[in-house]
Symmetry: C2
């Protein structure tokens, strides 16, 4: 279906499908606001000093230059943002005197990454982020709240089966330390590849890239196998790996808090998964990922976590927690699998036919009158046969065609092109059924059910 990528990695949608994207954005926005997040936008560019040294993504940054640069008017070293967390942190630090804390914001914007394009991986894509930051300390219940917000959205969208997998960096770091590992970030970045490249390759990378012993590498892999919704099972699994320290205890207690609260909500969609590591260096506690479980090869559609030190200027710090939702990524699958489709390819509800070139003004006037009453419409440009004009409406799925009277003896008529009925119509009174007034997004329940039935994961 609708995805076009005339430059690899830069998706564009056909008319109609863009409407499905807007439907996603509106629904997500509404849910964010329900949870008390306030909208913010940041500029697309950031100084390279802000963007770089954040981990895995460094090599994916796009930098900017002026095409015809003049010496007196040169940009500094700037690049396009690769996520919305780093710009949000900068914005919050910069404006902290004018903000109120805890600061809850949402942000829905394009981001750019020089990734290798592939299944669900783009170089320009739309992200929807929520974050909460507070001064000095941040309650763990906010970690829970951001997860619940995303969970709520997943349940409201007509998308395939989604689950959220949660882990905790303190637990991982504690465990790695107890295994005698010093290169924590490097280990996390490799472990983060588990879902993508599998245990065998991760094991080899731990050996080859970081010089781990087979035993240490094995223990890292084994830790990553723990997936559970049971707090007790989690504790037992950790103990059986024989590692114990304060960091592990802290991580375990935070994870248990989140798991217990999510279990109560009875949505059966949040799991603890100790293979979740995330590639960005700034996470310090909770980390999580949401996935389409029926499409195990499809990349993560939401991810985030707790960052205690990203917003800090030495004198004091503002811990934060947030999750980023990949709208383009979700949409890519939903449109490809034909799960959602727009009811028509244009907002136009009524096409005003053109009787003759001399009657153009009459058509324009009818359009204006209908618009005054909130009915989206447009005028046909050429006085060709009505059959051709109707054809145009059919191609776009415009439900009604208005035929202006040809002379004072006749009256205006309107045709429902779906059932080919035509009736007399009064421009001051005619009104479409509500479901025809604006373009609708229709869920293809059959396609959705097929995915669910097929999936080996159910």
């Amino acid at each position: 279906m609708g995805m076009l990528t005339s430059i690899s990695g830069y998706p564009e949608w056909l008319p109609g499908d863009r409407f499905v994207e807007q439907y996603f954005v509106n629904l997500i926005q509404k849910k964010f606001e329900l949870f008390g997040f306030t909208p913010v936008e940041t500029r697309a560019i950031e100084p390279l000093s802000t963007l770089a040294s954040k981990g895995e993504v460094d090599k994916e940054i796009f930098t900017l230059r002026r095409y015809q640069a003049t010496s007196q008017d040169e940009l500094g070293d700037v690049g396009l943002h690769f996520d919305l967390t780093v710009p949000f942190a900068r914005y919050t630090m910069e404006n902290k005197s004018q903000l109120v804390f805890p600061f809850r914001r949402y942000q829905i914007q394009k981001v750019w990454r020089g990734e290798r394009p592939g299944l669900g991986r783009y170089r320009e894509f739309l992200q929807a982020d929520i974050d909460i930051v507070d001064q000095n300390s941040l309650t763990i219940s906010y970690d829970l709240e951001v997860i619940q917000t995303i969970n709520e959205i997943m349940y409201s969208l007509p998308i395939p089966n989604t689950k959220i997998f949660v882990n905790n960096r303190k637990l991982l770091e504690g465990a790695y330390k107890s295994f005698g590992i010093a290169k924590i970030h490097e280990t996390l970045r490799i472990i983060d590849k588990l879902a993508k490249i599998g245990e065998r390759q991760v094991y080899q990378m731990l050996l080859n890239n970081l010089g781990f012993s087979p035993n240490t590498a094995s223990r890292c892999i084994e830790l990553g196998r723990v997936v559970t919704q049971n707090p007790l099972a989690l504790e037992v699994a950790i103990k059986s790996l024989g590692c114990k320290n304060e960091l592990i205890d802290e991580g375990l207690s935070e994870l248990t808090y989140i798991m217990t609260a999510c279990n109560k909500q009875d949505k059966n969609s949040v799991y603890v998964d100790l293979s979740i590591a995330r590639g960005l260096d700034y996470y310090t506690g909770t980390v999580c990922e949401a996935k389409f479980v029926d499409f195990p090869k499809y990349p993560t559609i939401a991810a985030g976590g707790r960052y205690d030190n990203l917003l800090s200027d030495g004198s004091y710090q503002m811990p934060g927690v947030g999750i980023s939702l990949g709208i383009t990524r979700m949409l890519g699958l939903v449109l490809h699998e034909n799960i959602l489709r727009p009811s028509r390819k244009t907002p136009t509800c009524v096409l005003i036919a053109l009787v003759s070139d001399d009657e153009r003004e009459k058509s324009l006037e009818i359009a204006n009158q209908l618009r005054t009453r909130g009915i989206p419409c447009e005028t046909f440009p050429r006085a060709v046969k009505y059959g051709k004009q109707i054809k145009y409406a059919e191609k776009l799925g415009i439900p009604y065609v208005w035929f202006p009277s040809e002379d004072s003896q006749h009256t205006d008529e309107i045709r429902d092109i779906r059932n080919r009925t035509q009736v007399i119509a009064n421009v001051e009174k005619w009104y479409p059924p509500t479901e025809d007034l604006s373009i609708q997004v229709v869920t293809n329940h059959e396609a959705l059910e097929k995915i669910r039935t097929k999936s080996a994961y159910r």
Copy 2:
């Protein structure tokens, strides 16, 4: 007010003000759809070959590079789009086999220009575009329709007095040719500066840069002085300049058609103004600009025109017409002049107070129940004195604070912090008045009236 520009030319808004921007976007979007325009988005980048050689803006293009470029994975020569017309033209040509013509689309996206930042001039800004393209030929009534769409929006937004000034490139080109001028594009680019730098400087530029005789330069300037709503006056003015050819007649007839139709709409806001030239080379007929007439120094807030040859690949061509609305530019003035303000700084309608650390779960549960019924809320993170918790709500303008019962003997209460009344509340039944449910945009009619009274233009 709210505009922050920590990098010159890249505006950001404070929470609350971003809501005013969304209000603008939503209203504009709704009007576009009423006129039957379908939403499209294009990627932010275009090949330099698509972007360059479009006129004045060439020197303002930003190009992209990878921060850590590797030879096998290099971007071609690409830059950020500086408007939405050029990407739209590219998109339409690329997908023409899947589109239906006439193709009416709207597009609301950020664009980037390396302009010198100043009053109403940014390097990153939000544009809202409408365009209609058709195959082979395009009716002049669409030129009218795009102007009427923008006019309708201007009348619907609580913004200062706006007028639309229309001209026609055929008329200008015809006149210049009859003056013996060969460098048409160069002349247009200089004439385009009339409003910005004044007649005297434009006259000098015509002499110095293009080598015009004083007589030729004078006639160009004089032509630019014609501003009228009267078709007859326009004809007389053209005749009195002693120039006549087919191109002039064509331009005159198109202008007259638009003026006559706009006059009938009785909004007194569309004028013919022969000083309007536009800096982009691709316009071929109608050109127009919308301005805040009470702020003569403020740059154009909407502009566009007819382009007959932009979408062409030799074999055939698709003429188009469109207008671009500068949302950031409008908003810059509206917020600066304090004309619009958000009713509060957060979508949150109810803050759930925290009784004690042990009662955190109760607060979260209340929040969840209210959200289920569509009431935006958030929980306070710290069990500090209620006075401090209320203070937080006050700072953000959150109208209600919910106090969970402290024990089973008591009931929940809700406080309206504006009138300090506190009543018993049931979490399953309480509902706010509609005007409190979501954040509202409030028009400061006093500020608006003051501008109107002050203005020398009324």
